[in-house]
Chain length 242, copies 2
């Protein structure tokens, strides 16, 4: 009975139901209005996401989501020749993959609200510290991602969104507006702290609201308990054809 | 592609995606294994839940959940003659309503794992403080729920579970094993703090594991990124018929 909103992305989407996570907050905000469906795949790039796309959003499906967030790029932007080189996707291919994803979703459902989210900024120092905490002296000496390169991918994500006429959230820019974003928003230089999750949550809700998908304006799936007459509880359910 | 687990209950289920919420934690624990579907209705009793039952769990549906938590009773146990009297459901009717819910779910799907959760304990002092913080001097002088009565409902919930051969979580007892449960687990004498949510999460996971619904043993919906050959990403997807 409720419309679905799908969160499609990499680990930052997969982990969005951890403590203070943006997916959990969205679920709470759309409580009794829409179901939030998490489709996050840690380590995935846009190149690999294409293999999942038709399974997660099958053409001709009877129940299609009303909205989807597409949140890749953090892995695509891994540098060639460094420790996460196997995830690197050249920026032109990243753009083309994003276009393919959006085109597919529009083919599935022309009215679906599609929101592209850019990768977050990178705290290079945080990445090195994180690697050292795990691998000790064997840890990489050069970060496998840089903030500058992540910014290039973020820019192109925003450009693709403009080109295709869909809204976007520029997380890379937004987060860097706050002093101390490196530790405030990022737990290991890349993944999000509860504060970082809050930024994603707020930006996504703002974008959804701006596009007419506002939780307070959506109908609840069943009557609020205050609408139930304790003497005749059946009445309100009957009135709504339930 | 993923099995569904439905959380059916009152406000304690509806609010389970707030900060540290047990529904969000379950979603994270079953990440890429099962979808957690929240069907929580603040203020609802088992009497009113019966009006929703056939809509949330339609007989003959093609996609039925593998498991469901049934978490009512906190409102049923509101005392007659006090401020929440309209929610009071006599204990015999509460038992009968729980039986109806379980029978319906078994009719929908005989293999569905059904877990009954008892109401939490009540901190009567906390309820009075909460009422005072909202209504000031006009607040109730006697709590609308007592711990003793909530305990009676909890006992009968456990008895119905035994009678019907389904597992249960005795939250009322479990929480009171911890010193200071009144403030540690309850935010307003009734609803759960993040620590209280953690108790529900841990007890539900323990019960699911005991019944063979263990996340680590369930298949992931798509290959882990480490299984993808960067030189030939198509291979692992083809091997799995994707």
């Amino acid at each position: 009975m409720r419309p679905e909103i799908v969160l499609f992305g990499d680990s930052i989407t997969e982990q969005s139901f951890r403590y203070g996570g943006w997916g959990a907050s969205l679920t709470d905000a759309y409580s009794r209005k829409a179901d939030i469906v998490v489709r996050g795949y840690g380590g995935y790039t846009t190149r690999w996401a294409l293999f999942l796309l038709h399974h997660i959003f099958p053409v001709g499906s009877a129940s299609l989501p009303v909205a989807a967030t597409i949140f890749f790029g953090a892995n695509d932007a891994a540098l060639p020749g460094r420790t996460s080189a196997s995830q690197h996707v050249p920026i032109e291919e990243y753009k083309e993959n994003l276009r393919k994803i959006v085109h597919h979703l529009k083919e599935c459902c022309p009215t679906m609200l599609i929101v592209l989210i850019t990768p977050p900024p990178i705290d290079e120092e945080g990445r090195l510290e994180f690697a050292k905490s795990i691998y000790g002296e064997k840890a990489m000496k050069l970060p496998e991602r840089t903030n500058e390169v992540a910014g290039n991918y973020a820019n192109e994500c925003v450009n693709v969104a403009k080109e295709l006429g869909v809204p976007s959230v520029n997380l890379w820019s937004k987060m860097q507006e706050t002093q101390g974003w490196q530790k405030k928003f990022l737990s290991d230089g890349l993944h999000l702290t509860p504060d970082g999750n809050k930024v994603v949550y707020e930006e996504v809700v703002k974008t959804f609201n701006g596009a007419g998908l506002s939780a307070p304006e959506m109908p609840s799936d069943f009557p609020h308990h205050s609408e139930i007459d304790p003497q005749n509880p059946r009445k309100v359910f009957q009135q709504r054809g339930l």
